[in-house]
Symmetry: C2
Subunit: 127 residues, 2 copies
DNA sequence: CCGGATCCCAAATGATACTG
DNA sequence: CAGTATCATTTGGGATCCGG
C-alpha cells in the first residue's frame, strides 16, 4: 500500500491502479486507519484523545496515519494557536462517504470476530 | 495484522482484541485479501484463474492469502483429484457475509479513487 | 500539548527455482 | 495445474529523544 506508482497490482481488465477494492483498501487499510476513521464517525477528536482511544498506537504512527488520511482528503486538521496548543481532527465530506463502510466493518467485526479468531473456531463456519 | 496475540492494539473500552473495525480489517486487509474476496463474489474461481485476474500477485502470495482466508473460514477449497489437477475456491456462508462490505468498497473505489489519488487532487475534497 | 527526527526490528510481500 | 521452498527486499510499526 501507499505506493501508488502505476501498473502495480492491476486485476482483470481494470485500469492502471488495480481494482477498485484495492484502491479502497489502500486508503482505509493498514493497522490504524480504519480505527481512526471509526472514532471520527462520532465527531471531532483531539490528538491526545486518540492516544487514549487507542492505547496501542505510538505517537509516531498516529501522526503518520493522520497525515496520510489528511493527504488523502478524508480528514481535516484544525490547529488552534493557544497555550496549551490544541489540534482537532474531523471527517471531511469525502471522509464521510466512507462512514457506511466503516460502520459496516464495525458491525461485521462485532458479529463474527469471535467465530474466526484463528484459534480453531472456524470449523463449523463453512459447509 | 495476522498477529492475533493479545492485548495488541486495543482501543477504547473494547475487549482484548481491539475494536471491531480492527478485527474486520485484520481479516480482509492486506494487499490481496479484499481483491480475492471480490473476485469470489462472482462465483467459484480456480487457482490459475486468480493469477490471470491478478497479474501482480505471485504464486506464493496467492497461496498464502488463500490459505489464511480458508483458515479464517471465509473461503472453501475443493480439490478435484484428476489429471491435470483442479482446485476450486468459493465463498463459505461466513465469507458471503462479507459481500456487502466488499461490494461497498468496490463502489467507493470506483467513485473516489481518482479524487484521492495522492497526486494532488485532494484539495477541493474537504472544506 | 502536539508533534518531528532518527534508529531499528519484525512482518509483509516479492523473485525465482523446483515439484507431485 | 497447483502448488513448495528459499532467498531477498520492502514496508509497517515501535522506541526514544528532541523541539516549538
Amino acid at each position: 500500500m501507499r505506493n501508488r506508482k502505476a501498473g502495480y497490482g492491476l486485476c482483470q481488465g481494470d485500469n492502471a491502479y488495480g481494482c477498485p477494492v484495492e484502491a479502497t483498501l489502500d486508503v482505509i487499510g493498514g493497522k490504524w486507519k480504519g480505527v481512526i476513521l471509526y472514532h471520527l464517525t462520532g465527531g471531532t477528536v483531539r490528538f491526545n484523545e486518540f492516544r487514549r482511544l487507542m492505547p496501542g498506537i505510538t505517537q509516531r504512527m498516529l501522526t503518520l496515519q493522520l497525515r496520510e488520511l489528511e493527504s488523502d482528503g478524508l480528514i481535516r486538521r484544525e490547529v488552534f494557536q493557544e497555550i496549551p496548543p490544541r489540534v482537532e481532527y474531523s471527517l471531511t465530506d469525502l471522509g464521510r462517504t466512507l462512514e457506511e463502510i466503516i460502520l459496516a466493518m464495525r458491525a461485521w467485526g462485532e458479529k463474527y470476530q469471535r467465530l474466526s479468531a484463528r484459534d480453531g473456531a472456524a470449523e463449523d463456519a463453512g459447509r
